[in-house]
């Protein structure tokens, strides 16, 4: 069955190029800055920035928000780069509405995550900074207001994600913090005590620098007043101690109906916070098997993504790492532990890439989540590593193996940049997932997918009792004898936000035979057959409330 299903798609899957970079054509010409282009004197210049696909004006089209950092020497006058919000005009082009929206903030921005924090139906934003993070409430009229908690603190925020960890219907927030960074006390490569990498003088860190502490914020908003309380200590988030936290991904790894949190950590063991259902978390990464490499080594964890890549109904995890290492693919053992399957899955063939944003994306709509990774070195000047690296598209064979199909995917995938952030979403609503990439000191890349692959169905979930963004909701779509599972999540990949809508590849099937939604809190909602080729809105407790056909 599986083989026939795949064979039917083989011809189309190999007929590239199908990813084309439309960024410039789409009007995405702004340069996103992160430190000096040619020389990185400090680690803060190396992380790059995040990007987001989100529909801020609820017009059914994915808009783009992109974060910028800055340069250490600063900018004269009002030349400092700012974050950008680009409104999707519906014709595969975008207009810059940053200023009008009130999001054109300068500073050393890092990551972004989205969620409807006040359940008003408009998606809100959280932007992390080296400095003070900022929380924005979407007023629903195309503008945003700063609702940052007063005690947000001056840290180096990186990845973040909204989640409703206590099932109270309001979105809480987890934020990773990287380094307790002090520019004045950190050695420079050209100083008296430079750090070295492969005998070359480079910027220092994170090892040797003071790690940051992850923060969990509980949403205590009431009567239209946005309020978040730092519960990191009481909830057990601080217990593992300071770590070099980067990307954050939430998922229900043990399928107990409660959101757990995974934090990819640089140069230390990564963290998995298991939700104990009582407002607290227990760190279980080592016992669970997702803390280290398969050799038991600490790695430089960068980006993370979750999907059920092997179709067993349980969420699996992928993580990118530093150069001279390979990514990790952790397969869920369905007993609260994971096994690393990197080697046998085919992801261990290349160790020359320094990976950042990573996402599971069923680019060919065959029903099997593929993997897309963006790469780039942190040291622009070194002789021993390529600063600009190509992206990698791995195709999932459906039998636990991934093959690098980047060449076939087209020059846009093979293009070399020093990429960081990655968001996945179907910005032209044609039923094919597209890719948004942030590049160090360059404009964004917007990889439009034109592959004539399988059919697909997109679900837009709206919570009623649950949080309105439906973050944490799990959809199970029956396609023939298979059940394809996906979860709505905030944050993930690398400091970025992907489309909340869940896209299901159906292969040659023209319909999903059944759909089941498990809302946060455990309520199950079952729907019957849904035809391919449309975006279906499902509201908690109501069922299908809207259907929009894909664009041609």
């Amino acid at each position: 069955m599986k083989a026939a299903f795949l064979l039917a798609l083989a011809a189309s899957a190999a007929s590239g190029p199908y990813f084309v970079d439309e960024a410039v054509k789409a009007g995405l010409k702004d340069i996103f800055v992160c430190g000096d282009e040619h020389q990185k004197n400090y680690i803060v210049e190396t992380l790059g920035t995040g990007v987001a696909f989100l529909d801020f004006d609820n017009d059914g089209l994915l808009d783009i928000f992109a974060v910028t950092a800055s340069k250490l020497e600063g900018f004269a006058g009002d030349a400092a780069p700012v974050n950008h919000l680009y409104r999707n005009k519906g014709d595969r082009t975008f207009e810059d509405v940053s200023k009008k929206a009130g999001l054109d903030r300068a500073g050393w921005g890092q990551g972004v995550c989205a969620g409807d924090i006040d359940n008003d139906g408009f998606v809100d934003l959280y932007v992390t900074y080296w400095g003070n993070d900022v929380m924005y409430r979407n007023r629903g009229d195309g503008t945003f207001e700063d609702v940052t908690p007063p005690n947000i603190g001056n840290r180096w925020g990186t990845g973040c994600a909204f989640l409703d960890y206590d099932h109270d219907g309001r979105l809480d927030l987890i934020v990773a913090n990287y380094v307790d960074f002090d520019l004045r006390s950190t050695p420079r490569p050209d100083g008296p005590k430079p750090c070295q990498w492969k005998s070359e003088k480079v910027m220092c860190g994170p090892q040797g620098l003071k790690p940051g502490l992850n923060r969990l914020w509980h949403n205590d908003s009431a009567s239209g007043q946005i309020r978040f309380t730092d519960v990191s200590k009481a909830a057990g988030i601080e217990k593992p101690g300071p770590h070099y936290g980067l990307s954050v991904t939430t998922f229900d790894y043990d399928r107990d109906g409660w959101s757990d949190i995974y934090v990819a950590v640089d140069s230390q063991a990564s963290l998995l916070y298991r939700n104990r259902h009582d407002g607290t978390f227990e760190e279980t990464a080592l016992e669970t098997g997702v803390a280290l490499s398969e050799d038991g080594r600490e790695q430089a964890g960068m980006g993370t993504a979750v999907a059920d890549y092997d179709g067993d109904g349980w969420p699996d995890l992928v993580k990118t790492n530093f150069v001279d290492d390979v990514p990790n693919l952790y397969r869920n053992n369905r007993d609260g532990t994971f096994s690393e399957t990197t080697v046998h899955s085919g992801l261990a063939r290349s160790s020359q890439f320094l990976g950042w944003g990573v996402g599971f994306v069923d680019y060919d709509n065959d029903g099997w989540p593929d993997i897309f990774m963006v790469n780039g070195h942190v040291y622009p000047g070194v002789q021993t590593g390529e600063y600009r690296q190509r992206r990698i598209l791995y195709r999932n064979s459906g039998e636990g193996k991934f093959a690098d199909v980047s060449t076939d995917a087209g020059p846009a995938v093979m293009e070399r940049t020093s990429a960081r952030g990655l968001a996945i979403g179907d910005y032209d609503n044609d039923g094919r997932p597209d890719l948004l990439i942030s590049n160090m000191n360059e404009h964004l890349s917007l990889l439009h997918n034109s592959l004539a692959g399988g059919k697909s169905l997109t679900l837009k979930l709206i919570g009623r009792k649950s949080n309105r963004s439906a973050i944490g909701a799990v959809a199970r779509v029956t396609v023939g004898k298979r059940v394809v599972t996906s979860e709505v999540r905030s944050g993930s990949t690398f400091m970025s936000q992907s489309d909340f809508r869940l896209q299901f590849g159906l292969g040659r099937q023209t319909q999903a035979d059944a759909v089941e939604i498990q809302w946060p809190g455990g309520a199950l909602q079952r729907l019957g057959m849904l035809s391919a080729g449309q975006i279906v809105t499902i509201e908690e407790g109501k069922g299908v409330t809207a259907r929009v056909a894909y664009t041609k």
């Binding site: 005590k193 098997g289 001279d324 080697v343 160790s351």
Partner: protein
């Protein structure tokens, strides 16, 4: 270890220097290692081209586990003869042991050119390529090593591991099994085989191999227990898995604590340096003392502490620290020189003279050593010897007025 090899190649050495070197060998054979180090250093001073003296020094330090000094001697040898196979081999091994693959790589590449038929060199080079992610060259070099010596353990294990990590189980497993059979007492073979079996999901056999690895000396290696935990997990043995993970965590913590201690020691040394620059010697000494407690076997630290206490006129403490430094690194002239100054400061003239004479033997080109020796000899009433020492100092550093003044002021015999 390498000394017998050295004896054979002494014929080209000048007779006097050769005699000194032979004396060093005699010291070595009598297990008087400190004296041997001094004598070998003397021989090296006598004949600057005497590579063997540096190799002999490196050999003694390596046997003592003092990799830093051994490496310094080997690099000195390579400055004299950049294609010296013994030095290349030993220096690359030291770099490899320290994880400095980048530094080992050029040495191994030269060594391969010098000794193209040495299987172990190809295997070492392959290991460096593997560590830097160059699988193609790693595989090529491992295979070359196996062509030269089909039963070479490191090449079998290394190539097996490389192939296993690349997902080539069919290629990897026979090599790993053969390696484990060839050297059944080496834990590494069982460890690599066990790890590969884990990857294949053959947990029962993996557990057995890993238990074996643990018994054969792998019980200090955290990764052995990590793999063991994977095997137990695969077998559904939760309690055993938990115990193995606990062992892994404990060993990892130990490693981290040691590394942290090293980092802290370095920070204390930095702080001490700042205090020194500000002239706050006592505070600097306190910081160095903290660093010494963290790294008690660091001769450089002991020397710095001794120097500080010397400046503070704490001669007892200075002596204690510099003697400890000398016991770790007896062929370092600077330590003997400082001890001489300490003894001179505390009016122990015989001891001062002995230390300064040793320093002068180890480093006959340092004017301050001869000047200090002259001062001690003057105080001892050894007028002729004192003048000779001052004359040597002036000859070595004719522009230093204090040495000239001492010579002019020295009582004539």
């Amino acid at each position: 270890m390498i000394v017998p090899l050295l004896i054979a190649i002494l014929s080209q050495t000048p007779a006097e220097c050769g005699k000194t070197f032979q004396a060093g060998l005699a010291d070595y054979q009598r297990k008087n290692f400190n004296q041997a180090l001094i004598t070998f250093r003397e021989a090296a001073q006598c004949d600057p081209k005497l590579v063997q003296a540096h190799l002999a020094i490196a050999n003694i330090y390596a046997e003592r586990g003092n990799g830093g000094e051994a490496l310094a001697a080997l690099l000195h040898a390579l400055q004299i003869d950049s294609r010296n196979a013994l030095a290349l081999r030993a220096a690359s091994a030291l770099y490899l042991n320290s994880g400095l693959h980048n530094k080992a790589l050029p040495l191994l590449e030269t060594l391969v050119a010098v000794t193209p038929n040495a299987a172990d060199v190809h295997a070492d080079l392959a290991a460096v390529h593997a560590a830097s992610g160059d699988r193609r060259n790693a595989e090529k070099e491992f295979r070359r090593a196996l062509d030269l010596q089909p039963g070479y353990f490191a090449a079998l294990a290394g190539l097996g591991n490389l192939l296993a990590r690349g997902g080539d189980d069919a290629g990897a497993m026979p090599l790993l099994r053969k390696a484990a059979e060839l050297q059944p007492q080496a834990y590494e073979g069982h460890f690599l085989l066990g790890s590969a079996l884990n990857r294949l999901g053959q947990f029962q056999e993996a557990q057995s191999e890993l238990e074996q690895a643990s018994k054969l000396g792998g019980d200090g290696e955290p990764q052995v227990f990590y793999q063991l935990a994977r095997a137990w997990g695969g077998l559904g043995k939760a309690a055993e898995r938990k115990a193995a993970l606990a062992q892994f965590s404990e060993l990892t913590k130990k490693e981290k604590d040691n590394a942290e201690l090293g980092r802290r020691a370095a920070a204390w040394v930095d702080e001490a340096r700042t205090f020194l620059q500000d002239g706050e010697l006592t505070k600097a000494a306190e910081k160095l003392e903290l660093a010494r407690e963290a790294k008690p076997g660091d001769a450089t630290l002991l020397f710095r502490l001794a120097g500080l206490h010397f400046d503070l006129h704490h001669y007892g403490l200075a002596r204690e620290y510099v003697q400890a430094a000398i016991s770790i690194s007896p062929s370092t002239w600077l330590y003997h020189y400082l001890l001489g100054l300490v003894e001179k400061g505390s009016s122990r003239l015989d001891d001062a003279r002995a230390s300064l004479e040793t320093a002068a033997k180890l480093q006959p080109t340092e004017a301050p050593v001869f000047n200090a020796l002259g001062e001690v000899l003057t105080a001892q009433g050894q007028r002729a010897a004192a003048i000779a020492a001052f004359e040597r100092a002036v000859k070595l550093a004719p522009n230093d007025p204090s040495f000239r003044e001492n010579l002019d002021a020295a009582p004539k015999p």
